[in-house]
Amino acid sequence: MADAKKLLLKIQRYNPEKDAAPYLVPYEIPLDDRTSLLDGLQYVKDNISPDLSFRSSCRMAICGSCGVMLNGEPRLACKSFLRNYANGATVEPLANFPVEKDLVVDFTRFLECLEALKPYITGNPRTPDDGPNTQTPTQLARYHKFSLCINCGLCYAACPQFGLNPSFLGPAAITLAHRYNLDSRDRGKKERVRIMNTENGVWACTFVGYCSKVCPKHADPAAALQQCKAAGALDFLASVLSRKKNRGAACGDKA
């Protein structure tokens, strides 16, 4: 096809063993209506530069591998269509994470944050012999939206607080912890709220709100963080009140 449409894609390259800093390289990509950015990257790897490194897997926006910055905006490569970028586009690795090679970032920080927040059902003594828990559609709906997170990390790239303070536990990890707090089967909320209320927990969020805008699954991390702040504040209030009550009781004993 001689008259096939083409597009100029500038891709950030970086080989840690050779380069002092990343740089942009232009590539010409043929495209049609359905060419995704991921197709474009694979085209480059297949045909022009086999040494281009990027992560990808499902190519249907559910595995969360292929997050990149497309014209400065965090996006899934498989869910971005090149037809919308007629004037060319720039692809860079996901912001706020250290760049390891080309478009590959070090993503372990996210997993560590997730792990720290204990995102699993705790304290429910039921065993398979007891049969499944009862959970009505209304109870399911309370947390369902927050369970849609695919761990792609776009919200971390969108979060300026995470950029400025890499200790922040971050939107997705907190959203998933909150998902368990809202689950009728879970009994571990207290411990999670304690962790969320630490210095680098929910209070590091200033509600920029960009995380929810870029979330490809509409899991709404900004809302989750707001709800965690409310829960944290209530928890604090409760602890102050109970401390007062205890002190009162103690005084009463003395008298």
Partner: protein, 647 residues
């Protein structure tokens, strides 16, 4: 970093105060190494900086089966150290893309015996019936366990579990979480695995080879993709849970990582690949990309139309027509996948499908389900259609076509998941435990991951205690060999490209080993694959980097892929009958031939030559081979049997 900073980290790490460690490390931008250091500090025996790490069990692959196996092993003996090795982060595994659901008896009008009969006849009697028996009896327990681990199963109004209909299943028994069941299962398993400190993840580690001595497994050699260094993992038991090989085909529903090297590694070690000729075509993939449109869209009541708007399945032994929106189990659109894909092929050859630039398509119409039901039960299908086709299935039918989806065959194991190498287990799509026979029923594979993941994990936990082969000179030599051949590959020069070989292999399989096969086409594919085996040795590697070099890994994936493609093609050409997903058009091979071929094929690796194909008997316990009937034909047979029983 100042010394006191490091001291603080160590102090926190010793208390396993992960939060404090994270905070300290982030200040020094130590991200990416925290968990690693933390675990070394907590467990001095586990120094990840030396090239050999000793575990009790190594699980290779961290999708549904790998995670389930790792958890089962940790639960059956909390003192075990388990390595969970995967070339991607666990959440990226292809289990994530499963949509429809997982099978387990749930309704009162259902029973394990009915599930058994559906599975065996769906597999065209090539199933190990004792394995199926164990499976159907264990599914429900595993589903309940998932529920208790937090899987958001879709519910009925009263809070009980909802089930939906699926192809080839007589009674609705598919548990589902909207149309993202695999996603929710995978994430539930992954996050549950975080509970067990004995599970040590080696994320983004690509397994290159197995270590074994006297047919006893001793560990694996893996590449740490980020560091570009080889790691030797010694283990008393190894569980391969590496998934299928759908990516061998040009157009498929599978993720890019489903390249089959787990099967390939076992194969090169002399383990048989069983029933490789059976490759399932899913009847509803998106044209071009192959993206999966779940069978649940038909289970909920969607219908398939040809270009005249006619529900063609009634002409292929699946009728009579059921009213749109009220599907009947095992009728019409709820027939098994092999039959539906074959019906598509006939309609296409008769010129009754729509032509598009991405090939012929039929139409999947779910409009009559209504907006509300589509949004509740099939939101992901709607999102995929809108994103990748630009059409809303609430208003327009979805163009679909059959697409390579699932490898029924794989590493031959017994019902205990152990292969012919002692201590080497295989589970999930990479294995052939004997469950699916010649055609898998939809929603049996997610159930398989859980049921047999548990079996493999539990059995690996007891096997590993028998002691590994240790670090003998022969194992050292094997590890050194693995390193040498990897280094040679890194420096390989040549004019060929792996991408070209991948594309030609995909085309060859599609032409020769697609929905319908013939001697001539299969022989052509075999010649082509042999040619590609020569050319793959001449692929040049352009990437010189150690860090995240996916150029060389793609080559490794594709060279294993070629071995598997040959196993598929040779197993297929030698099976001179039609059964399940293996349908032939040539004279004398168009019918099922139980006399000669009610047998498993076993492909053995033959370095530099065509695989050796042998056969093994099929275990029949309860259900002797019979005609595989659907729709009205089955109903009338059931009526007759009923009469006989009563009389």
């Amino acid at each position: 970093m100042p010394v006191d900073g490091f001291a603080k980290i160590i102090k926190a790490a010793k208390r396993y105060a992960l939060l404090e460690v994270l905070a300290e490390c982030a200040d020094y931008r130590l991200s990416g190494t925290v968990t690693r250091y933390l675990r070394v500090i907590c467990d001095p025996g586990l120094d990840l900086h030396v090239q050999t790490i000793t575990f009790d069990i190594a699980v290779v692959g961290a999708g549904g089966s790998g995670l389930r196996a790792a958890i089962a092993a940790a639960e059956s003996d909390p003192d075990l150290k388990i390595a969970l090795i995967s070339k991607v982060y666990p959440m990226r595994s292809h289990t994530v893309a499963a949509e429809g659901g997982a099978a387990a008896v749930q309704q009162e009008n259902d029973s394990p015996a009915l599930h058994f009969a559906d599975t065996v006849s769906g597999g065209d009697w090539l199933c190990e019936q004792d394995t199926v028996e164990y499976f159907v009896g264990s599914c429900q327990r595993e589903m309940i366990r998932m529920e208790q681990w937090g899987c958001p199963w879709s519910r009925k109004e009263d809070g009980g579990i909802a089930v939906r209909s699926f192809g080839g299943m007589k009674v609705p028994r598919t548990w589902f979480a909207a149309d993202k069941t695999g996603f929710h299962l995978l994430h539930t398993l992954f996050r549950t695995s975080l509970k067990y400190p004995q599970i040590h993840r080696l994320d983004e580690h690509f397994v290159l080879d197995l270590l074994e001595e006297n047919r006893r497994v001793a560990g694996v050699v893996a590449l740490n993709m980020m560091e570009g260094e080889l790691v030797r993992v010694d283990a008393g038991a190894v569980v391969l849970a590496t998934g299928g090989a759908g990516r061998l085909y040009r157009c498929n529903t599978n993720a890019g990582i489903v390249t089959g090297e787990g099967m390939g590694i076992a194969y090169r070690h002399g383990v048989a690949l069983r029933d490789m000729e059976f490759v399932q075509y899913h009847p509803t993939g998106l044209p071009g990309s192959g993206i999966l449109i779940t069978e649940a869209s038909r289970g909920e009541g969607g219908v398939l139309l040809n270009k005249d708007g006619y529900r063609y399945l009634r002409d292929y032994g699946l009728g009579p027509e059921t009213p749109p929106g009220s599907p009947e189990p095992k009728f019409m659109e709820l027939g098994p996948r092999d039959r539906l894909s074959q019906a598509f092929w006939h309609e296409w050859k008769a010129g009754r499908m729509l032509d598009t630039p991405h090939g012929a398509v039929s139409l999947l119409d779910i409009r009559h389900l209504g907006r509300e039901k589509i949004l509740e039960r099939l939101p992901f299908i709607r999102e995929l259609s809108m994103q990748y086709l630009g059409l809303d299935p609430i208003d327009k039918p979805i163009p679909v076509r059959p697409t390579a989806h699932y490898t029924m065959g794989g590493i031959a194991t017994g019902g205990d998941c152990e292969s012919s190498i002692k201590g080497l287990f295989a589970v999930g799509e990479c294995s052939s435990v004997g469950l699916h026979g010649a055609n898998r029923l939809g929603s049996n594979s997610l159930a398989e991951l859980l049921v047999f993941g548990e079996v493999a994990g539990r059995n690996a936990a007891s096997r590993c205690k028998e002691g590994a082969a240790g670090s003998s000179a022969s194992l050292d030599a094997q590890a050194a060999d693995a390193e040498k051949s990897f280094n040679a590959l890194l420096k390989q020069k040549g004019k060929e490209k792996w991408s070209v070989i991948r594309n030609e292999m995909g085309l060859a399989l599609e032409e020769g080993c697609g929905i319908y096969r013939s001697e001539k086409l299969m022989s052509e594919s075999i010649v082509k694959l042999a040619e590609l085996q020569v050319r793959v040795k001449k692929v040049g590697i352009a990437d010189s980097a150690s860090v995240f070099n996916t150029d060389v890994l793609s080559l490794i994936e594709i060279s294993h892929g070629l071995d598997l493609a040959e196993a598929i093609a040779h197993s297929a050409v030698k099976r001179r009958e039609s059964r399940g997903a293996h349908q032939r058009l040539d004279e004398g091979c168009r019918e099922r031939d139980d006399e000669n071929f009610l047998r498993h094929s076993l492909a053995y690796y033959n370095k530099g030559a065509a695989p050796r194909i042998e056969y093994a008997p099929v275990k029949i316990t309860r259900l002797p081979p019979a005609g595989r009937l659907y729709g009205a034909e089955e109903a009338s047979r059931d009526r007759e049997n009923g009469k006989k029983d009563n009389g």
